[in-house]
Every structure is written in structure tokens, then in C-alpha cells.
Symmetry: C2
Subunit: 158 residues, 2 copies
């Protein structure tokens, strides 16, 4: 094999960095997400799991707020909510303060489902993560923390 030079020149030494870091991060995150999504045979499709997580984290939400948080269009959020409600994982209630708005929240069944989903994901990933050295896991955890802050910072004000 001709050993092509790598397509993603990592930030080996100097700064080189912000540009490469962004691309490397995007590539790695995308590949990992894809891999993990297939490895874990999910009880719930990704889109629903994402939406349901947002609801659990951030309480009752309007459809449009959910759309903003999930970075989807409002129609997509409407559809997601409809499917969640069909499954019994979320409930819709009129907003007492605004007749146009709808407040969506997780149901108890949704919470249970979410825990199961997370457990399945954890099971699927455990072997791989377990094969890492302790300091690698620590690096990964710090990276995740930064990533969380990054994404949160870009989040809509709500």
C-alpha cells in the first residue's frame, strides 16, 4: 500500500492549530457518531433520543425552543414532538400564557426509555472505552467537557 500522507494533518507541533483542530474535531466526531450509532442497536432513533434528551435536560419547552436547541427547523421539531407523543414518551400541553404556544415535556415513560437508551449506548461503548488507558480516558473526558462548553456557548439564549 502506497502509504498516502494523511488527509488530516494533526496538530503535531506548532500552533498550526485552530484550523486543523476544527477539521480534525469535525471528522472525528462525525466518524465516532456514525460508528457508535451503528454499534449500539438503539431502542430509539437518534433524532428522537436527541429531542427527548433536550426535553429532559431543559424542562418543558415550546416547539420552537426545542427546534432552536436541537438546531433543527421548526417543522422538524413539530414532527419530532408528534412522534414522541405517539410513542407516549412526551406530552403536549397548551401554554397558559400564550394560546398559540405548546409546551412539550418528557413523560415518565419517556424518562424510562431514555435511561434504557443511555444504558444501551453505555453497554455498546464500554468495551472500547475500557480498552483505553486510564490517562487516555482522562484526556477524552477533558475533551468532552470542552466540547460541551463549546456547543453550549453556541446554543440559543433560550
Amino acid at each position: 500500500m502506497p502509504e498516502r500522507t494523511t488527509a488530516i494533518p494533526g496538530p503535531p507541533g506548532a500552533e498550526g492549530g485552530v484550523q486543523d483542530l476544527g477539521v480534525a474535531l469535525l471528522v472525528s466526531a462525525a466518524r465516532f457518531t456514525r460508528w457508535a450509532g451503528r454499534a449500539a442497536d438503539a431502542p430509539m432513533p437518534q433524532a428522537l433520543w436527541r429531542a427527548l434528551s433536550q426535553l429532559e435536560e431543559l424542562g418543558p419547552l415550546r416547539v420552537s425552543a426545542l427546534a432552536a436547541l436541537d438546531r433543527t427547523s421548526q417543522p422538524t421539531a413539530t414532527a419530532l414532538v408528534a412522534r414522541l407523543v405517539e410513542h407516549g414518551w412526551a406530552v403536549r400541553a397548551p401554554d397558559p400564557e400564550d394560546g398559540r404556544a405548546v409546551l412539550v415535556d418528557v413523560s415518565d415513560a419517556g424518562r424510562r426509555q431514555l435511561h434504557e437508551q443511555r444504558a444501551a449506548a453505555a453497554r455498546a461503548l464500554a468495551p472500547s472505552l475500557g480498552s483505553l488507558a486510564a490517562d487516555e480516558r482522562a484526556d477524552l473526558a477533558r475533551g468532552v467537557a470542552v466540547l460541551d462548553r463549546l456547543v453550549a456557548r453556541e446554543a440559543p439564549a433560550g
Copy 2:
């Protein structure tokens, strides 16, 4: 704000870490991928960009090898290759050693497109990454490195 407790509870038991790390990683990676994918108005759809990157990194590949690397089904890889070829970003050649097989490789146009894609992604992410502190970026870079190793380790033998 009611301050709901975090959505990602840990297993009460012993080490606590690996499980949570996996779920947190998956959640963050998925959210980041989704956010970045929308923020960068991509000249090329994600699926094509993924496939093309693999081709550039790993040289001429059989369709089935590409499928394995990209964690897609073989029919999906066939479709991706067809679209890449349509755009002129990849070329197909018969495998001289196996009449059934096809060797796919990036074209020069594909390489140019890929560089442009990466530049666009870098531009889109630069402001966010730039807003991080230097040590945060370093943490992130280390995390990405670990993630790369993790995904690579799970990759098919090829």
C-alpha cells in the same frame, strides 16, 4: 429555572466513569456534529465528504472496503461512489487482480473539492474555537487524538 438534575446520571456502582464517559461522549459528539454540519454551509454533503476523505486517506479502495471503513452497508457505498463519480470527484477502475472488484480513487477535482470543504469547515469553526482558552484547545486536541485512536482501533482490518 427549575434546574433539573443532569440528564446523564451515572451508574451508582463502583468506578462510575466508563459508562458516563461513553454516553457523554456520544451526546456531545452528536450535538457537535449536528451543529457544525449546519453552521458550515457545506459545498458537499456530509456523506460524500466522509467517503471522499476515506479515499484520500487510504488510497484506492474497493467498494466493500470503503463500506467497511465508513461503516455503511455495501449498497450505500455503491451509491456514494456513483455520486462521487457523477461529480467527477472520484474515478472507478477495474481491479486487475479480481474481475469482480472495482477500485475507487479520488480524482484531482475531488482532492481540490476536499480541500475546499475542509477550508469551509475550518472557517465555520474558527470563531468558536478561537473563543476557547489555549489550554481548552489543548484539551480538545488531546481528546480528539484519543477519539481518533479509538475509532481507528475499531476499524476493520482492511
